[in-house]
Symmetry: D4
Subunit: 248 residues, 8 copies
């Protein structure tokens, strides 16, 4: 039941063809969703420009292409994460404008080029193996309308390389820091800036890295107070949170 | 806003002092709760006779007594779990009819003696150390209006003792099985009956028992298909679930 | 030794061809199983209509087909879980009436259409990736003679979609709720109904989902008291327990 | 060596009393800190109004009081977290204006009442036992110059209570959500708002809650994309991150 | 129902006062235990001389004393493990002959001095902190009628000390090896002897010892094939298993 | 240096061609092994008939065949565990008498048919999936000269099937019990016999079985005192330990 | 900016073409790295002869070959770890002098044959399966200019074999000890020598070895005080640390 | 049996009072230790100046004092770690020269002031709470005859403070780095120096720090290749290893 249906019911009440008692009875059976449209208004502004998103892993190329086309029809940007080249070829066949961002394993469709972010988002990664996760964050932040800079391969064991590029850090309004192994980079970066840092542990490493657990625990225990953490390898989530912050 | 308020609004619509448009606007700001009373009706029958419950651990005797009195005023049964004697003394002072079930560390107040359960609930425990958890289940099931039998200290290493009391098992409509250490009892009991078994891992044991983790994992992997599991030491939860099943 | 054999022995005692002493000696060597037939009677009613079940994973198509045919010969329903299309083709060749339920990866044979369940079982799942587990529960409950409804893709991050379909929840006598990732859905559903909820953690997710561990722990710690839990991805177990409850 | 010292060295070079070679040698021994003063300027604006913070647990009342007085002398706000009443009495003796926020176990000193936050920060907690962590977040956000609202005891098993107070959620620019046990609340809240949500797992619960691990894993796997997570019981960290976001 | 009762029933059948049909009916209701006496005969020899055992931790001195006296009345040896001096004083008051083995925290009562073990049991421990566990094994093996030798403080980091006492190792028919920390001793000992080694991980250590987990895992992965393992700190279990082996 | 060499040295001393001082010097450089022959004597009897063993997994067929031939040349029995058919074909080519025990994935060569075991070893397994591990134990015990009986598929959820075959249990001098999932069978079996039980957790199961961890923890916490445990899936180790016990 | 650039700037100051104020401004924008050359001097001696290193796993043969050639151009030794034969073939094509160390899965290029190590490094491994990790350590230490001896397959269950080769242990200035399963070897070796021991847990084993976790925990809890530990399977790290120590 | 005894035996052989055969027999029963004295010589130089060490926790003051006096009698330095003031008072009573190092919770007795270390050992700690562990390392290194410098409270979130004190880092021959929480400091320090770094995880932190596990995993996964790790809170072990290295 949408607003129109509700109004119709109220008209009937006004017209006397429905008693208030009967109206109460019928309203009792309305689902919350039906009456809940007002709520969506509250966030309309914030939600504008949000991309439609598909998690491709575990889906066939055909499934991804099908969903992609349907979402593209809504008119906004579309993002398919964890997509391989086969996924892309299937999407490309149905949507010629779709692009593949290989490093970030993402398929994107740009239909809205508005810049929603007020400042810059910087994406930092500790090692070259962390780049796929970092790039997923970059693509996500870009498709959500942000100006994104990045700085890769600046691990904490070579701290001077990071310090040499401090400008990228200090110019950002929000930072995303990706690191595997000991996951120490967010703490160091967090100490160099005065803005929020979103930390992304990656599953990079072997042995006692335990598929990202070591990095995850490290980041949760960061001695820098401006750090919050998302799931292991969740570049998308970091890009999404950073974009929301950058819109404020 | 309850039904009365809603009716008033509809009367205004009928009376023409409120246009349908304005009514829609005002309805948009109603909280879901306000309109949700119908939903509660669906379960009225099921919810009748449910006790009010307090988790006492971490609360002072005064806090428990205060909450207890307030809940008692609603007229139904009241149950305070994980309560020690100090908690009880404080409750006793404000509610003379309150009783202490020492083994199950529970304070109860019986104001409703209706039998809601259709059959018998049997509570089985593997060792004497599991009894406090088993008794919490017993007290919970009793206060919720069930006929409860129990069978304690029938560990799987002495399987004949369990088999010697099969009648208790086969007479029950639902069973609760509490065990620490290797947590094997629910599987054995599950294989002897054709009704649902609620398994409660207990934190009894030492070393590789890891505070109930061994028993929990054992129960989740039960080779008996009629077993489902609640949290470690959660006698209350088991009693509650069993009571709901026994009302069906 | 069955009842007949036992009676024969007693006849010999009565006839004097066997002394009581010799009878005791011979009885001493009877296995428990031999004398245990009475026990099975207790559950005859409950056990009627139970399907024969095969866990297919790790078995060759030929093995599954062989067991399937043997179980089918008993005359009741047969269910093979975790079966792929190759398993099905092998079964189909020996039993033309066998059907494949692709979504739930189950092979079924219906030879008994009796409705054993007294009410409706509702199966709810949080995301589309949880559907295989949910469908295993659906197939299990159906083959055990229940009226099953389902509601898929109602994750807690879009709570209104769930609330919009409350009727399915409130009409059920037992509910099965499947969720991966944070496993929060059973708590929310548990709070909306007054009947037992069987929670099934799924291995859906990545990183800190740890193959279903996060969901499992979440469900074991549910703040809704009517929730009990089965093993990760154990749709069959949930369907089985729910069916037992629904027969009561 | 600050700018003045550097200039002095350059003057010497210009004056010819120091050869370029010798200057290079001396510069080689400058620490990075000495030359790094520019960097601090970048964040001067962001850092203004940041409180000085003491982690009291494990420190004697005397130690806390000593550090507190020293930090207070800098003129800004001071916050001592995880402080008990003994800590407070010691601080009170040396700083009469210090206040104790008992629920949040925090000692505060307000010397700067500027409002730095642009919007409202809402702090939500699932159960009454989560309140100490929630209050630590509240105190932190307040002392950092924010308008803070809160909503306590709105667990996911009673979703309507949360929905009934949606205004608090939708009015906030940033949200902090604290929950123990299954830690599901951030996902639900995340789905209801379009702004960043900082999730704080608490160590509330028992058994398979594993001192907050269940809640932590649940939050890291949140199906709501706007959720990021801080350490277990880290109300301070959440308040700090939320404050930084609210200043942007 | 014991043999006598069974014979009585059979006599009635012979006498014609009970029909075979009625006899079958009555036999159906006999518990398994009642008919199971034959089974116990099989192990009579093995079970002779087994002590009665009480796990004292978590029991009050009065409870331990009560159980102890009751078990002592059976005429065999009695062992109370994990007992402190208070437990002992309570037992001593009711049984003057009871002795306290302080190192092994065990109360014993010797009423049967038969030697049941065919050879020697050697108990080896890695460090002085492992002695309480080792002594629990010693006391258990002694009270079960074995000749027990021991060798303490022969950690693997001082391998020559162990080698210097090889006679103790090579003279034993079964060995018990207790070790905390890295738990390496059973592997080394296992390699030096050709008889079964029972390994007992102890909770000795700190940090990454994780209360005996490191030692437990080490022992389970022993490269010596003659090693089997019991629970952390389970000196009693090791002594019991070794005694059973030594009787063979 | 063996006994002969040592004697030669001593003869030289006696003959005066070597001074005692020089003899001491030379003895100082002898390795321990050289002088350790006495030690080996101690176990000569026990070690007789021990098979040579190869762990095949991770080795190429050629490597296994090579080692196998070399070990066969020593004249005793040879056992290659975790071997697939390719391994076997390679071995067969170089040793025609080698046999493949498919169920237990073992290649054996019998060159010594002596019976070393004094009694019977019984191998019990809980489910059909545990059979490969159980068979590895059977093969190991057989090749080490034991009379081995087995009883498969007697899970604890069907306890009567186990009880129906108690003779196998009670006739054994040592038992090996293999179980995955909840690993409860050793406790039940342990309670039915008075001899040592070697428990083998298997990696059978899914979800919260965690590749055998659940079964392992269950067995370590067994409430039956005659149970000791070997590594997950370590059928060989269990067979080896049981054989050593059976020789005593 | 290197020393030359800095001198040029200072010359300008001396020459008066740059005011001290402008020089300060320009220096402020120098990156730390630029001014950091002094620091490198401190370690020049230590760093001489350090190989360039590539972690090959996860990189394509082309990528490895490309990086390898670039690093080779610097003139020092080059080491590519975790490289397979395909990696090698690609490198060989661009650098004919490159060699493949198959056992250690390493590609090396020797362009500097200086011996930097002052003593001998001994690499010890417990079983044949640990050899790949041990060889990675050997190759690393050799390419870094050390005299390396090794001793393989000396597990703790055959302690005499280790003792028979004590000379290798006692002649070393630093030792690397690799072991999987229970990881006990470093403790035994540590007790036999008076120099630093670098322990490398390997992922060798199955079941409760948990991919090297058991060995790792064992080594961290070593009762030998001269043992420190690197990551699971990290032969390279051990070789690197040992080489640094051997240069001191 | 020492060299003298051996010579005596050989003299008897030479004198003809002992036949070579009888000598072989007697030598067979010598323990390895007896003949192993040569081995100890190898390390005599390295072992000189090693302190005698007592781990005090879990020992009574009287026990510690007793052992301390006995060890002091050997003439070298003595160190009691994890000692509280009561331990010290007991030691002081029997050894007036004993000193208490409160920060490091260590009792020391200096009887040998020789400097054995060739260079400086630097001990670095991340936060003030890590100081007790750092001081344990300092005391250990000092009592073993090293020149020790330290640098405390230089966490990675304030990287400039660390960089400002680089001299301490670059002057050290070996470094010990202690850190709790995310344990990132060793990686940063490791990247700044070219010498071995011993990392000590501390149990400092809360929540997901899991008593030092997060720091431990972080350090094991360090991206700096010159880092090796000791057990959580094991300041003594780090000091010991560093001292051994510094003697080389």
């Amino acid at each position: 039941m949408d607003a129109k249906a509700l109004r119709k019911l109220l008209e009937e009440v006004r017209g006397g063809t429905l008693t208030p008692d009967d109206a109460v009875s019928r309203l009792r059976h309305f689902s919350f969703e039906d009456l809940g449209f007002a709520k969506i208004d509250h966030h309309r502004k914030l939600r504008t420009g949000m991309p439609e998103v598909i998690f491709s892993r575990g889906k066939t190329p055909q499934q991804v292409a099908g969903i992609f086309r349907k979402l593209a029809a809504k008119g906004g940007n579309v993002l398919a994460t964890r997509a391989d080249e086969e996924h892309f070829r299937a999407v490309k066949r149905v949507l010629r404008k779709a692009e593949y961002r290989e490093l970030g394993q993402a398929i994107i469709l740009r239909q809205d080029d508005t810049v929603y972010g007020k400042g810059k988002i910087a994406v930092i990664s500790a090692g070259t193996s962390d780049i796929p996760v970092a790039e997923e964050a970059v693509v996500t932040a870009e498709i959500m309308g942000n100006d994104v800079s990045h700085l890769y391969d600046v691990g904490v064991a070579g701290i001077h390389r990071l310090l040499a590029h401090q400008t990228i850090l200090t110019e950002a309004r929000v930072l995303i820091v990706c690191a595997g192994m000991e996951g120490a980079l967010p703490s160091v970066v967090g100490g160099l800036v005065g803005v929020p840092v979103i930390a992304v542990p990656t599953s990079v490493g072997y042995g006692a890295a335990f598929q990202g657990l070591a990095a995850l625990l490290g980041m949760l225990n960061s001695c820098a107070s401006n750090v919050s953490v998302v799931n292991i390898d969740n570049g998308f989530g970091a890009g999404y949170v950073a974009s929301l912050i950058n819109r404020l």
